[in-house]
């Protein structure tokens, strides 16, 4: 039956692509990211479009873990300092706003981490460290897969799942259980 085939085919394709990319992220780079997050006074995230949505999901969860995390532009955004960390999410590493904000953060002596797909990008060059999420769809050698999803969909998906993987790791590092995390969760909803 066509309909059933169609949905289950898409679901399988998405899971397969996500699995391949998520598992190809270098665990050493993940450990470095966790060290940097734990060392920082505050964490800022910047990105655009659906990438920003995945970053917001990460920032929301970091706050639940009692790590102060802000999206650049949000209402209560504080100033960044040399004790803080800016995480830039961008597949290409060339998007205008992330590049501009990374440059500014660099001038202000903040630490900068790049979560992206482009080892030769402008953001990568500004960043202090790099977590490669190898989803580039062009035929560059760093991509582990040619995604069949449009635009940077696969990057956005993996970024969300990756954020939740590091959440689990941070919970273990900090000895937090779900009940601890719930203490920080919004209750006006």
């Amino acid at each position: 039956m066509e309909a059933i085939h169609s949905y289950s085919e898409k679901a399988s394709l998405i899971i397969k692509e996500c699995e391949l990319v998520l598992k190809s992220i270098d665990p050493q780079s993940v450990e470095q990211l966790l060290d940097e997050i734990e060392k920082a006074d505050k964490v800022f995230v910047v990105g655009v479009g659906r990438v920003l949505l995945s970053l917001q999901a990460i920032a929301k969860r970091l706050n639940h873990l009692d790590i102060k995390a802000y999206c650049v532009g949000q209402i209560d955004e504080p100033p960044i300092s040399e004790k803080d960390l800016l995480l830039v999410g961008s597949s290409s590493g060339e998007t205008i706003i992330p590049v501009s904000i990374a440059r500014k953060a660099h001038e202000l002596c903040a630490r900068i981490g790049y979560m992206g797909a482009s080892p030769d990008s402008t953001v990568r060059k500004i960043a202090d460290f790099y977590v490669q999420i190898p989803t580039r769809r062009s035929n560059d050698s760093s991509a582990v897969i040619i995604s069949q999803q449009p635009m940077t969909t696969l990057f956005e998906q993996v970024l969300l799942l990756f954020g939740d993987a590091i959440t689990l790791m941070l919970m273990e590092r900090k000895g937090l259980k779900e009940k601890d995390v719930l203490l920080k969760h919004a209750n006006l909803e």
Copy 2:
């Protein structure tokens, strides 16, 4: 000349309406609001549409004064408790989301302040205190003016200006100068 007349006429009308309403707010109710804000551990604001934008402007400035202020729904929204204050902005006091959230905050024993135009409204009944911004455009007796601007435009305008008036008052109360306020201002922009 028509064009010049037209703009200057609109500018005058808006200023006149804002002045009349802003000056008719009861100063005692303003002092109570300031006391409540200073007493609160955290301040939350809730509203919809353009009213929400004015509330966000207020929340942003409160953070600059080192008062923790959050918009309901924002990424790093913490739980509300009985030591916190929810400020509800709503001209009618009947808008669905503000009413629902005020009820929930009341269950959670938070203090609730209503900034609005409707003394007989549902939100007013839930609230612990009330700052009347008398802009209702119907012929109810509490309105000081029949606005010539569409919908709740005048309410939204006065709410922004009112928020900036209390900012100046809070700066005086706390002995803050502009240079102190700037210390909390975002610098990634």
Copy 3:
């Protein structure tokens, strides 16, 4: 080596949970959802927290497919009518804002679809149709898995991936290629 083990263990766990839930969604309910989306003049989405982020990602992509989709509360939100569709995302189906907005949309005679985990919930009762995303973590019989991730993380993940599965299906239905989708993509970034 502990570090490597830790990340790869989390990545596997997340992929496994997502796969199990994503593949357990009833394809007939997905086809109905697609029919409703295609039939609607406009699509609205409502949710809170990280669920809202997944819904925003869906709304963004629907716009790329030339389907007008709005998040409740966004700047250019138009009125809803009986020709429109409201999609409510909520694991519990009891969250205040989604419930209130679903009730209001029902009064305004809009079609309502529920994407959630709770067949007996308030939202389910208001909705015209239902896509079950069976992630409830309690021991109710409808859940296909007891997630090891905190709160409704799994629901949020699957909702994003599900949205991208229906994007692929809608592209096929409409005969759209990636180049067509790109025509609607923001370019100020």
Copy 4:
């Protein structure tokens, strides 16, 4: 009585500052802005912080007048073209994101209008036309006032009020009454 004196003093100061600046905007520049808005297929706005909030209020109202207006970064942001107008709000005309986006829009051949306080700024140089909102607080000759409010508060206030003045003018130009405007107003609230 101190309390009453204090609030009423602040209210008067704010109204006086807003009046002085709002009335000093060149009506010819306002007419040009209206012509450009009416000529454009779509209007985009860009800014940061509280300036962005005032721009969002403007965009929201333009949509009520059946003028398609988008904030850069919003969920359903379409691509900009040479038939569209970008309105940049920035007191200094040097803020990173507005400058970057204005440059990009210029490359894409969109019309660009600058609403700001800085005739010699980078944004002014990129823009096709300029509405001066003369609120600079430095001792440059173009400012009509040295504001006693912190940072760019006065600019943000006047921008909101100015947006509502042009709304009234556009309603007259288009022959729209309040009931027409209400037809476009969100009703899920």
